[in-house]
């Protein structure tokens, strides 16, 4: 009998919905006596618990209460998995840290004041495995439940491009980047059709879902399967794009370079550290 805890931090709850979308698999385990949910504020009136074999953490660490919750979860759990891009990389809402936030923090109860910056779970406590994605790919969530919470197979350096069925040319060169997708075809590489797709740098696992519906990859799976290595990943991503672009600098070609490269993982980057330390 595996005891499962669901710990949610600051996030949109899409990861919880992703788990609930695989409820049938989970219910099967519960009905079969293989698993038990000991803590899940979304589902149960349980305020505390003694021990969990597996804690699934979603969201990022933004408030003092988030920090307290994830530290408690770490202490009580054998195994802690970060589910979703907020837990793994800090998530899309971390971009708010770029702005000076004039919030009514003074009116927030002391335990939910904002910390200095949004952070991924691994910056605060040790994690045992990570399932990135915004939301995490359905097949990964299902596999994770089916395999009783054991780690997923690694992507081994493969990228979204490796999973994409669109045709690529050997010598990729693009002149400019566009902002709409009028007139693009279903068969050829989006980037080669000047659509700013970042699949070439993004870790595989999603099955190239967005390009498959004519939408460019925005990097929600992260740039390196080791969640702690996003900074190196972005450096590789920028130089890779620069080598494909025929014109000028990467920054000139993109309207919003920070949003393009760090949409889901701004809180993971060292740049952020520099900003915070004021150096």
């Amino acid at each position: 009998m595996i005891k499962i805890a669901l710990e949610w931090l600051s996030g949109c709850e899409g990861c919880e919905v992703a788990l609930l979308d695989s409820l049938d698999s989970l219910l099967g385990k519960i009905e079969g006596g293989e698993a038990e949910i000991v803590y899940a504020p979304l589902l149960l009136d349980v305020e505390d618990y003694d021990h969990a074999d597996v804690t699934i953490a979603t969201g990022s660490v933004r408030t003092i209460a988030d920090e307290r919750r994830i530290k408690r979860a770490r202490m009580k759990s054998e195994y802690l998995v970060a589910l979703g891009s907020c837990a793994c990389f800090g998530g899309i809402h971390g971009l708010a840290d770029l702005q000076s936030i004039s919030c009514n923090a003074g009116r927030a109860p002391p335990d939910v004041r904002l910390r200095a910056a949004v952070e991924p779970v691994w910056r605060v406590v040790r994690i045992d495995s990570a399932i990135p994605g915004c939301p995490p790919p359905e097949k990964h969530v299902k596999l994770f439940i089916e395999n009783m919470m054991s780690p997923l197979p690694a992507s081994k350096g493969k990228t979204v491009c490796d999973e994409c069925t669109r045709k690529r040319s050997e010598e990729r060169k693009i002149g400019s980047l566009r902002r709409d997708i009028v007139g693009i075809d279903d068969e050829n590489c989006l980037l080669e059709q000047s659509v700013p797709c970042i699949g070439f740098a993004t870790s595989s696992g999603c099955g190239a879902l967005c390009p498959s519906v004519n939408y460019p990859c925005h990097g929600c799976m992260g740039f390196d399967e080791r969640v702690e290595e996003q900074s190196n990943g972005i450096a590789r991503a920028i130089s890779a794009l620069a080598s494909i672009l025929e014109i000028g600098e990467v920054e000139d070609a993109l309207r919003d370079p920070v949003g393009f490269f760090m949409k889901f993982s701004y809180p993971s980057f060292e740049l952020k550290e520099r900003k915070r330390n004021g150096t």
Binding site: W8, S10, G11, C12, E13, G14, C15, E16, V17, A18, L20, D21, L23, D24, L26, L27, E31, I37, P41, L42, L43, L44, D45, V46, E47, R62, T63, A65, G91, I92, H93, L95, A96, L98, Q99, I101, S102, C103, R107, A108, V112, L114, C134, P135, E138, R179, D180, I181, V182, L209, C210, S212, V213, N214, Y215, H218, R255, D256, V258, G259
Partner: protein, 421 residues
């Protein structure tokens, strides 16, 4: 005496409640313990990416956020969409509403409604057959959303002009039997659940008489508690009619109608408001209902109506819907998008520069609209329970809170935003 719940369980997000019970008065506060910051983070982002960002406000009502957002982008750039696109978007929003309503009814509150132990039925070993069939029904609506939006959570295909990928006649034909089965399940569900909820309404005997607000493509309307029409305005004039103050505690703002001032100008939105404004002859809606528990009845009836409506729309779209991305001609301006999200009126407003970069964003969500009403409703309930055991009062406070199905990740917009000056 002060009754305090630091973090309510079985509510979407982190929310606390504090009720001070004085000699003559009761003062309730719902405290939003979560901050998202989507309004500041949208600054500097490309306008066309707004739906991608804003769907991440909420993983439960993500379809509605993406829709309100894409409508604001289209409004700002004067992009019109075809009837087919409008219909397919309606299907997506209705499916999103059903899945949200069913998630609330069967995963978050069903045990209290059915008087069983306070553990959700869904994760108890032996499931009631109807609950199981409803969970299956919820999966069906998620599948429909996935077909239209590219996946179940955080739509991919919703872009200015329509959809990045079309649906074939074959895709549409797969939906028809799904909807028939869903409608049948929901009909059974309503027969079983509506009398139970009516019983709970009678037992509590509390109804908060409020104004109700609703949005459609022809604008926003506000109706008084007795059904009198009070206001109607276009969404691009919302700033003239809707004001906001910061919550006394926690990350949140409290919208109100300027015509009635704060705090008197509070309103209610969502399933109860929608059925009170567009009453039909369905179930208990032959008259206006004010009891918060009737939100649950409204969710059931709305789910059934939505399922029937999806059936009609799927029939009308049987030959499929083509991909229809719009050409983006950027210019300086503003855009407004509003939609009835599962929990009620949702407003997105962006101001952007001549090269289509967002300068300011204002997003008002249903839970923000409902927050003052939740506080007044808790006060009214607690006032009627003087002398009863604290535990009983606490259970009621949480029941009233959950009746509204508050969604906290959504409700936390709080940054001073000035647009159009």
């Amino acid at each position: 005496m002060e009754l305090k719940v630091d973090e309510a369980t079985r509510v979407a997000g982190h929310i606390g409640v504090s009720v001070r019970i004085g000699k003559d008065d009761v003062n309730a506060r719902v405290i939003q313990r979560e901050f998202r910051g989507f309004e500041p983070l949208l600054k500097g982002r490309p306008l066309e990416e707004a739906p991608l960002y804003t769907s991440r406000i909420c993983g439960i009502c993500q379809v509605a956020h993406a829709l309100a957002s894409v409508k604001a982008v289209e409004d700002g750039l004067s992009i019109s969409v075809s009837h087919e696109v409008q219909k397919l978007r309606e299907v997506a929003n209705l499916a999103g509403t059903i899945q949200s309503h069913l998630l609330h009814l069967f995963l978050l509150i069903a045990p209290l409604k059915l008087g069983t132990e306070p553990a959700p039925m869904a994760i108890r070993p032996k499931l009631n057959g109807i609950v199981r069939s409803i969970l299956v029904g919820r999966s069906m609506t998620q599948r429909m959303i996935s077909d239209i939006c590219g996946r179940t959570i955080h739509p991919i295909t919703m872009i200015a002009g329509g959809f990045s990928k079309g649906l074939s006649a074959e895709d549409m034909s797969r939906m028809a039997p799904v909807v028939d089965k869903l409608t049948k399940n929901l009909t059974e569900l309503s027969e079983e659940m509506l009398p139970i909820i009516e019983g709970e309404a009678n037992e509590r005997g509390i109804g908060l008489r409020t104004r109700y607000m609703h949005v459609s493509d022809s604008g926003i309307i506000v109706q008084d508690h007795d059904g009198t029409k009070l206001l109607s305005f276009d969404i691009d004039h919302y700033g003239e009619h809707i004001g906001e103050v910061e919550a006394e505690e926690g990350f949140g703002r409290r919208p109100y109608l300027k015509a009635f001032g704060y705090p008197d100008g509070f309103i209610r939105v969502g399933p109860l408001a929608r059925l009170n404004i567009k009453r039909g002859d369905r179930g208990p809606w032959s008259e206006i209902r004010h009891e918060s528990v009737m939100y649950s009845s409204a969710r059931i009836i709305e789910s059934l109506l939505a399922s029937e409506r999806i059936g009609e729309l799927v029939g009308e779209l049987e030959s499929g819907v083509k991909a229809s991305p719009a050409e983006l001609k950027f210019r300086e301006g503003e855009g407004f998008g509003a939609i009835e999200a599962p929990r009620g009126v949702l407003l997105h407003h962006y101001a952007f520069s001549k090269d289509g970069v967002i300068k300011e964003a204002d997003i008002i969500t249903p839970t923000a609209f409902n927050s003052p009403a939740i506080e007044r409703d808790i006060e009214k309930n607690v006032s009627s329970m003087r002398g009863m055991e604290t535990d009983k009062i606490k259970v009621r406070v949480l029941k009233v809170l959950r009746d509204y199905d508050p969604c906290i990740p959504c409700a936390t917009h709080m940054v001073e935003v000035v647009i159009g000056h």
